[in-house]
């Protein structure tokens, strides 16, 4: 039971401090790896949320919650990630005519954004390092993926192919 509450609280917190699913990954790493899931499971969660269609945020919640505590865990994590945007939308819709972009919420997010970017870079490096493949193979995959995705090549294909290359080449 405390596990479910902790999952709910973790995802509530993470979703209050990020503006989209992909942007929440950096924070999520620090809050869940070692506590609920392993490093490898985290990579699976991020990888498959990029591969599967639909909102990344609730997919991350579903995977991590399920891996930590089965279906109840998945539901608890999902609830935590759905609650903040839902509550806010109802609040915002009701005061929409008064709230402008200059509101303090907007400025808070403006300050939040560079910090999230930096956190993403830190976490990207951690994942790369702990992935174990820091030799030629790892760097080649990282650089080729970066180049492809920077040219708007679909991320889900890049991530999937990288995984398959791992299975084929790392015997």
């Amino acid at each position: 039971m405390p596990d479910l509450l902790l999952l709910f609280w973790t995802f509530l917190k993470v979703n209050l401090l990020s503006t989209s699913g992909p942007a929440s990954v950096g924070l999520l790493h620090g809050e869940t790896v070692g506590r609920f899931i392993t490093e490898s499971q985290f990579v699976q969660a991020v990888g498959f949320s990029a591969v599967l269609p639909g909102s990344d945020a609730i997919q991350l919640a579903m995977y991590i919650g399920y891996a930590a505590a089965g279906i109840p865990g998945g539901l608890a994590a999902m609830l935590g990630s759905i609650l903040p945007p839902t509550a806010l939308i109802f609040g915002v819709v009701n005061i929409l005519h008064r709230l402008r972009r200059e509101a303090w919420v907007g400025r808070f997010v403006e300050g939040l954004t560079p910090a999230i970017s930096v956190l993403m870079l830190f976490t990207a490096w951690k994942i790369f390092e702990k992935g174990g493949q820091t030799g030629l193979f790892g760097w080649a995959i990282a650089l080729v993926s970066l180049a492809l995705m920077a040219r708007d090549f679909p991320a889900r294909i890049v991530v999937l192919v990288a995984g398959i290359l791992g299975v084929v080449l790392l015997q």
């Binding site: 599967l52 990344d56 945007p85 910090a115 956190l119 490096w125």
Partner: protein, 185 residues
Amino acid sequence: MNHPKLFANLSRYSTWLKLFWMFLKVNLLSPSGPASIGLLYDEAAGKLMSEERFVEAVGFSNVLPGSEALKLAMFVGHAAAGVPGVLAALLGAILPPTMMMLIVAAILQRFQQADWLEHFVSGMSPAVAALMALVGWELFRAGTGKKIKPRILLIAALSALGFWLEIPSPLVLVGAGILGVLFFR
């Protein structure tokens, strides 16, 4: 007889169904929240809500915390059919991704000790790291616009210092947000 009322009810239900179906479709066809905006625009703008309101909804979902796809779904649902519209849209947006992820997660948990999964993750890690670095960079560019303001760089540098000193990340993020409120008057 009560025909007009029955008719009104029917058309209301069909709006809810339409919203549910629309978000089911959009979320099945797009790989992530930000990517779904284009699809959603074709489906909703001009039909369920005015173009102006759609742009406003996108603006707000960029600024408010939480999943982008869900916030947009709820805005569009609200514009089309009020509070029940929000629920219909939310349900449509949540069902496909979570069901698929549940299946994937359940299958993967059976193979956590398998060699092939370990190799799969090893191959995927560098690509996932690259994806994260790229998303981080794009987020930074989107947040700054064309000219990078010095105070944004200052916040970025301060938070880098914070993460490097291993201050808990939520604290660093809240701190950055508060700096934003103070700086961006």
